[in-house]
Symmetry: C2
Subunit: 214 residues, 2 copies
């Protein structure tokens, strides 16, 4: 801790996906006033073995101290930095239907390190409105607006039929990160473009399995 | 295939969470008209090694044939059965705000094997309405309604402040499965009760990491 963070190449997808879970768990421990935690008890709360935790953290440097465990606040902040919550990423939301509204009104973008700069939609009834401080603009203004206000991420909450064509249009405008709620597997010929998909069905099917088998 | 499915005890959480992804991928292959797939090419599309796939499937019996690969339709149907999509589970949604509306209108509950029997809310403006064929009832009617119409799962799309108290009330009414969108870690003293949490933030933070590090 406090030392420069070593980033190994080729960190596996599974490790990267556990980082936000560690961050969430450590944030909760912090909120509960807990200052130190062992890999054993952190793992127990998360259903992960202690050795898995030590192995995961070893991808990013040395976080713990033998016999002492982890310093909760420092580890939480360090993982936050690795995840980029201190980078102030900029974001727009495209598609202000029910789901788009719900995210604008309730999702803590700021806590995740994102500023919502604007929202876009095609419906005249919603264009010009302000949702939780965010102005909704017409899709026709997207080119001009993004030309002046580059963003890191676009939240896609549009109908699946138009998902790929809108994504293509945004990629051509320089967008490289998509938080994709359309339930369509999007793709881009540009390997720099990252798609992060929310698959609600995967979660419900996991629950379906559990209520039938556990 | 065609033989009875052997279910091993203590299948790990990681394996269970991969099942819906296999199901989704195989459903897509089916839709593309592909009839056979090797563990190698299935893995390549999913970012999973072939040996991991064989190991995962071995938890549930023998699905493939040496040198032939997997029969896409049969494997898809078998995993669907393991996940319970053929069980016709019953479900209600509690909290018809923007997110609840979005799920009722757009989420394919039927494809996941769930029938939405009713929705509940406290707001007089929405009680009595019908959203995509589902009647919205008052929360005060929940006891009487669930007494006559037991359900397997409740979708919780209510404010976080009331999440645990509403969950407790539903557990006391016999509910054992919760699809939890409240971003609160819910708990129950009853070990039979399963909570499946959707953590939007974990997904956005994974994207945040990727756009900064890949």
């Amino acid at each position: 801790m406090g030392e420069s963070v070593l980033r190994k190449e080729n960190i596996s997808d599974a490790v990267i996906r556990r980082l936000p879970r560690y961050y969430r768990q450590l944030s909760e421990l912090r909120a509960r006033g807990i200052t130190r935690v062992s890999s054993l008890s952190l793992g127990r709360e998360m259903g992960i073995t202690a050795s898995q935790i030590r192995q995961d953290f070893s991808c990013f440097g040395e976080f713990g101290q033998q016999g002492y465990g982890y310093h909760v606040r420092e580890l939480c902040e360090e993982i936050g930095r690795i995840l980029g919550v201190d980078r102030n990423h900029h974001l727009i939301l495209v598609g202000v239907g029910h789901l788009g509204h719900a995210l604008l009104q309730n999702f803590p973008f700021g806590k995740c390190g994102f500023t919502v700069d604007a929202a876009f939609d095609v419906a005249p009834g919603v264009i010009g409105a302000t949702v939780n401080g965010v102005t909704v603009r017409g899709m026709g203004d997207m080119e001009a607006w993004l030309g002046k206000n580059p963003v890191d991420v676009v939240v896609l909450t549009i109908p699946r039929e138009v998902a790929q064509s809108v994504a293509d249009r945004l990629v051509s405008l320089g967008v490289r990160g998509f938080w994709n709620f359309t339930n369509v597997e999007l793709s881009s010929a540009n390997p720099e473009v990252k798609f992060e998909n929310i698959h609600f069905a995967d979660s419900l099917l996991t629950l379906s399995y559990r209520i039938a088998n556990d």
